[in-house]
Amino acid sequence: MAKQLNRKNALFAMFTFVLALVLAACGGNAASGGGSGSGGAADTEKGEGVMTFAEFSAAKVDDPVVIEAYVQGKQSWWENQATIYAQDADGAYFIYNAQCSEEDYAKLVDGQKIKVTGYKAEWSGEIEIAEGTIEFEDGNYIAPATDVTALLGTDELIAHQNEKVSFAGMTVEPSTDPDGKEVAFLYNWDGSGSDGDDLYFNVSDGKATYSFTVESYLTGAGTDVYEAVKGLNVGDTVDMEGFLYWYEGANPHITSVTVK
């Protein structure tokens, strides 16, 4: 009888173990996080076979490229492909659809140093690293935002493509919604969208008006910048930070807005 009870206990234990695993399997995966950067200085020395930013800039479209840089922002992850902004001491990179597991994507925190091997590409004026692979390296650097307000509308602006940039003292100008009303922002470029879609808003530096974007994959509904832009009023004076994305011209993707 005692042996029978032991066997029963063993079977009970096995079954309990199995059920526990079932529940664990169904409970979802805990995200594996990476360490948060402290924002040190960017390495100026490049590793073996790694291009400087100048060499990357000089490379032709479709050339193979290898760069080292520091993550400054993550835009999206889908089907093991990550799109991120990265920057080193000399320039910035838009890394488009690089191979990346979901676990590694979680470790791509701001400041994390990475090495990217891929091909230089250009899509509607945006310089990218396409089909890259990502390796993690030791190092941490948070780039400061460069104030490019004075460069808006000039040929010099493109030199800062993909960089973390800032715009100071700009005025929110009206956009026209589908009903013909003047509003401070639109969902999608023409107002055809709804909450959760990209936000478009116009700002002026006093000389010209520019269209800025809150890219929903980069900073979607619920983020501080998304909600802040929804709260803008025409005539507000704002300071902004973002990444200098390019689409047939400068198309800044704004990541923070402060109403002055």
Binding site: M14, L19, L21, D190
Partner: protein
Amino acid sequence: MNRKSHFWTKGTDPFVRLALTLVIAAMTCTALLTGCHGSQGLPAFEVPEQWDSSKEYEITFWAKNDTNKTQTKIYEQAIADFEALYPNVHVNMRLYTDYGKIYNDVITNIATNTTPNVCITYPDHIATYMTGSNVVVPLDGLFADAKYGLGGSELAFDGPTEAEIVPQFLSECVLGDAHYAIPYMRSTEICYVNKTYVEALGFTLPDVLTWDFVWEVAEAATAKNADGTYAVNGQQVMIPFIDKSTDNMMIQMLKQRGAGYSTDDGEIQIFNDDTKDILYTVADHAATGAFSTFKISGYPANFLNAGQCIFAIDSSAGATWMGSEAPLVDISPDKLVQFETAVRMVPQYDPEHPQMISQGPSICVFNKADSQEVLASWLFAQYLLTNDVQIAYAQTEGYAPVTTKAQQSDEYQDYLSRAGEDNDAHYPVKIEATQVLMNNAENTFVTPVFNGSTSLRDASGQLIENVAKSVRRKETINDAYLENLFNDVLALYHLDQLGGGVGGGDKDALGPLPTASKALIGVLGVAWVGIIAVAVSDELKKRQS
């Protein structure tokens, strides 16, 4: 758990006990796994005898627009008009600008029984939605219902009869042996041509383009001046031929050649010699810079309008972006170049027997526990086929209405007749693109729909994209390259794992098993080995004693 212990304390035959254990454990695990990774099927929908207008219904409609505010407003107006006719139904719209995003969200929501009620979608996608049990409502019973069906006697609106839906478009919504959707709008691929540059290069634009003509002109346009600019436009950039949708490009080329793509049952036939021949041609012209793609370079419309492209292939539903006078433009005014825009069907191998793809949104209705809620959904879906909605929406782009009732109406005929009166509502490029489709309805085709056909479509475009990119990166395209490419694409899109058939098993439907689940399956195996070993040992000892 207690009941299981109870069975073990009875002096039951150990093999019966083992069998009972197996059954109980299997039922437990199945229930748990089902709870985690899927939902129990709903009962099949049956059309209610009578519409219940006394109860409030809230239905969700996931709509797709082409990032076009006029389309959004038409949806909103349609909802308002419908709610006025059916005051007890409230329609909540969620807007999308990407079919793929709708597809992903529907797949996610099937598992939790939180699908929308009505959804704009592609038949390819519906085939995957049907992986679940009774997820999508078969519509034949609703079509035929005398009261609430197409042209039904108790409808509060003047909808089309079944006979008034263009038969070809309606047949595209048959999956297996039933209709699982109704067509909403139809479009096709169009070649938008810079006729000015074609003639400047010394060619005469034919009414029907052939592939040979397009490649010949495209190559001629790559000639450069001594200063490195292109002779035809004097600019630093010229990509003579850009295709927006390389999956449609490959599909249409194969169809025109009578080559294999897939069977209706989902047998994959795309990896054939015709495909190789097409890819060699693509490689030749990508190498010279005569050809590129949307994914590699950007929107064909932007290059066309900047005088940097001669043949821009895109949907007829993108017509309002095409041409010097296009109402929608995405490049700065200083980059716009003046030229004459010609609208042609996509290039053909046999111009006497043209073939072009039929595409465009359809509408499906999702099943719910309350059949009255499903009926409300059907009434709204059907309302989208009324003339008011069909004609208004078709005019927003190069879409054709899906009903003859709308196509033949005075209002729509008047619209067509006014092509060129202005560059907005009557933008001639848009109306000409629509007429290419309407004049060639009998020359359109669709690809077979099965669970996995979306993957095959993606794979077909990937072949062209990869070859074009490889050539640009100075890789050699030869038989060995193409064999490797075929194998890579086969694996990437799991084409060797497709179950075929509508609603068949598709691993893509729920994605790969999580690691923990794979571990669980392994542990389950070990656990059962242990259970069986204990039971057998117990029985042997019992017999020995």
